[in-house]
């Protein structure tokens, strides 16, 4: 027996959902959804939970992550109750619910909190540079053989190797913070979806057997390709791969990426960097134009967090590109100052977006598919045993 909680709809509406209470439960949205299948139906069922305030049911549902928001449901909804935007809002809500710190919710429902946090982290980054790192007095030694700026040498008294190590240390610290929160949130998600699932118990061997799902879906975004318009998927895949490559280069193999000399254009370091930049930039442009023009169901409704994310990503990319070209052009100070600004944007973006906000979906989506496959396989096993 579940109690109906009428006020819950208002809570969801804080995360962006528009008029979803107009729904009259025809089921059209679920029926037109190319991704709804078998026991994992949405969006109507989830929308229904939201209307009725069945919080536990929503929190234990992987379905919001299984939706890629192609917008078919909203486009054809006879009551125009925007089930697609509803699912988007549920993802924001769930992100805030997986997050045990409570910060995520604050970032989502309050612009002041989110902007304040960004400014705070930016300030720390800039402050660290300002306090401890002094630019070298002799700019002559800062130009490398190719005529470009040596990126790791601009601090007085610190060897390039040491500089990279310091930055790497900073990256690792950030990665540790991000991972700590993200992993603990993921654990929370795992508890809600798999462990507290009342219907089935997942046997251990399934975790191994179904693990391929995690990697396959992370790498290919295969589900997204089942949505009607493959260009959505293509663009998203481009961004995802570009982002992953970039993240790997700056966090895992920084010394290989951030080199004193400028490699020839055929070098994989430059090639991969360009690929990632192009992908991310293209996506930013397409998405921003689409959100401004409100073309397509997906971009009709834009939450503050969506814009902040796009702007941060854009600024990060822009400063990254500037650093690159200032270097090639041998512009020493512009390179260094832009580099600091680049870090001052990149750091807060990663620290806030990855564990607490929009970018967490890079982890939650494949995990949700993995968890779903665990539950469904376990249920199938139980059914077989019963037979």
């Amino acid at each position: 027996m579940a109690k109906v909680q009428a006020g819950f709809a208002d809570e969801i509406k804080r995360f962006g959902a528009v008029d979803f209470s107009a729904c009259y439960n025809c089921g059209n949205c679920t029926a037109v959804c190319p991704l709804a299948e078998n026991d994992n139906t949405f969006p109507r069922r989830l929308l229904r939970y939201a209307v009725l305030g069945l919080e536990d049911d929503i929190q234990s549902s992987p379905e919001p992550w299984l939706c890629y928001y192609c917008g078919d449901c909203s486009e054809t909804c006879p009551r125009q109750s925007n089930p697609g935007e509803m699912m988007m809002s549920l993802r924001r809500y769930l992100t805030s619910k997986y997050d045990w710190t409570g910060l995520s919710r604050k970032f989502y429902v309050s612009k002041a909190w989110e902007l304040g946090a960004i400014a705070f982290i930016s300030a720390i980054v800039i402050l660290l540079f300002a306090l401890f790192l002094r630019p070298t007095a002799d700019p002559a030694g800062l130009i490398n053989a190719e005529g470009g700026v040596k990126i790791n040498s601009f601090v007085e008294g610190i060897e390039p190797e040491t500089f990279v190590t310091i930055i790497e240390f900073g990256d690792w610290t950030m990665a540790a913070i991000v991972s700590f929160f993200l992993i603990s949130n993921i654990f929370n998600m795992y508890l809600k979806i798999v462990i507290r699932n009342k219907k089935v118990k997942v046997p251990l061997r399934l975790y191994v057997k179904e693990a391929w799902n995690l990697f396959f879906h992370f790498g290919t975004q295969f589900r997204f390709s089942k949505c009607k318009d493959w260009t959505y998927w293509a663009l998203h895949w481009l961004v995802m791969t570009g982002y992953t490559i970039m993240f790997t280069m700056i966090v895992v193999i920084l010394p290989w990426f951030q080199t004193e000399r400028i490699h020839p254009i055929s070098h994989p370091q430059r090639f991969l960097g360009y690929y990632a930049t192009f992908g991310i930039l293209l996506a930013i442009i397409v998405w921003s134009v689409s959100r401004i023009r409100r073309t397509g169901e997906v971009h009709k409704y834009t939450h503050a967090s969506d814009w902040i994310f796009l702007i941060m990503l854009f600024l990060t990319t822009l400063t990254g590109i500037l650093v690159h070209f200032f270097r090639i052009g041998g512009l020493i100070y512009p390179t260094y100052y832009t580099y600091v600004i680049h870090l001052a944007i990149l750091m807060p973006m990663l620290i806030i977006e990855v564990p607490f906000s929009k970018w967490s979906h890079i982890a939650y989506r494949p995990l949700a598919i993995y968890f779903t496959s665990l539950i469904n396989s376990a249920a199938a096993l139980e059914r077989e045993e019963k037979k």
Binding site: N25, G27, N28, A36, N38, T41, T76, P78
Partner: protein, 433 residues
């Protein structure tokens, strides 16, 4: 029949010769008023005459309409003008209404034609028969349908090739290609608008095939397959002429749907689908009939009982709107819907899908009056300005609305509403005197 040029003053002009227009005209004529009944089509009878049996009594629509049509046609106080429209209606300073009656040429002399159909046999042109909703063809010279009133020939000049075969075949010399549009000024003390409704065209719904699937038909096409004067003498699916044995009804096609601009309920689709379901179980005893619905709106007298009865007869009712229809190679169709009681998406295969199309406002009502003075409501229907006291009243004093011109309605409601319009019109005229 036909217009007597000397007779251009009437007590009331009734616009639309469907069931509501006829009922209004008869009520007024029985009360001693003179009525001009203007019908755009070549026969009176409106939509109802093309229906099969009607719910919840299951008597045939023709059995109810044809006597009413003959009564209307014969009534000494009623003048019928078919193939006609009335435009530029204006209110005069003395509160009477005047307008221009345009009678389109039929190219057949109404008084001479005997309805023998010799011209039809002779005509070499074949086009889609609009009265059979495109299932079969008809000639360019034709008698509209077997129970038309007047039951005389007409020439479809748009498709006619002017070969003259009909002229030669007509023993009564009734074919006259020299006929021209006739314009007559008419005046009346009051006007009743009974212009009816339009059917929703499902071609705009892409996920239901956009009109392209061979075995997806509209409920009106099914209605034609069920009437005695039907095109195939049996219920057949149009794709390959196979007798269907698993038929699906998709309710709320174009009704209660903001995406097609029609947020209101059409009031009749549930009941006519249930009725067609019962009739199909009668004519195809081995067939399965499944009705996919949102809410069954069986609200009228005897409707709920009729709904329960059809459940008892074995019509399947599935709660859920059909999301998509896909066509298989053999012409069978797969409908996808959500079973909300099980929390699952389901697909079901059917060999014939009937789209239960709803009612839309007939935009012609808006153009009747000079300067668009007639007020229209947010759904495009003639606005009832005093629904609780004078349900037939419009924004123009002396102009009343009857039947589906004011909103979706079933036949019993249309008839009662036509009675109300007639009564309000009569009282208005009596008070004015």
């Amino acid at each position: 029949m036909g217009m007597d040029p000397d007779r251009s003053k009437y007590d009331v002009i009734v616009i639309g010769g469907g069931i509501a227009g006829q009922e209004s005209a008869l009520n007024l004529a029985d009360s001693g008023l003179s009525v001009l009944l203007v019908e755009k089509d070549v026969s009176i009878g409106g939509k109802m005459i093309h229906l099969s049996k009607v719910f919840p009594t299951l008597d045939c629509a023709a059995c109810i309409t044809t006597p009413k049509m003959s009564e209307t046609a014969r009534h000494p106080n009623i003048t019928i003008s078919t193939d006609s429209e009335i435009v530029d209606i204006e209110k005069n300073p003395d509160n009477s209404f005047s307008g221009v009656l345009i009678k389109h040429p039929r190219y057949v002399v109404e008084n001479d034609c005997t309805g023998c159909q010799d011209c039809e046999d002779a005509c070499p042109v074949i086009v889609d028969d609009q009265y059979q909703y495109g299932f079969v063809g008809r000639k360019a010279a034709y008698v509209p349908f077997s129970i038309a009133n007047p039951r005389i020939a007409t020439i479809d000049i748009e498709n006619c090739i002017l070969c003259g075969a009909c002229e030669r075949a007509c023993a009564a010399d009734a074919i006259d290609f020299t006929q021209k549009i006739e314009r007559t000024g008419v005046t009346a003390g009051s006007v009743i608008i009974a212009t009816g409704f339009n059917l929703f065209d499902p071609a705009v719904i892409e996920r239901y095939g956009g009109g392209g699937f061979r075995n997806v038909i509209t409920s009106m096409q099914m209605e034609r397959q069920l009437v005695p004067t039907r095109p195939f003498n049996n219920v057949l699916r149009p794709g390959d002429g196979k007798m269907p044995d698993n038929i699906a009804y998709v309710l709320c096609t174009g009704s209660r749907d903001e995406t097609v601009g029609n947020p209101i309920c059409s009031q009749v689709c549930c009941m006519y689908s249930i009725k067609q379901g019962q009739l199909l179980l009668g004519s195809l005893p081995m067939a399965d009939v499944t009705i996919y619905y949102l809410h069954i709106r069986a609200f009228g007298k005897g409707f709920e009982e009729f709904y329960q009865q059809s459940k008892g007869m074995g019509v399947e009712f599935v709660k859920g709107k059909v999301g998509t229809i896909e066509q298989k190679e053999n012409g069978d169709l797969i409908v996808r819907y959500e079973d909300m009681r099980e929390g699952r998406v389901k697909e079901a295969e059917h060999d014939l899908v009937v789209l239960a199309v709803g009612m839309l406002a007939n935009p012609e009502a808006e153009t009747l009056f000079m300067g668009g003075k007639l007020e229209i409501d947010e759904y495009g229907y003639v606005k009832q300005v005093d629904r609780l006291r004078n349900p037939a009243k419009t924004n123009i004093e002396g102009v009343f609305v009857a039947g589906t011109a004011s909103g979706p309605m079933d036949i019993p409601d249309s008839i009662v509403s036509a009675g109300a319009a007639a009564s309000e019109s009569l009282s208005y005229l009596k008070r004015a005197r």
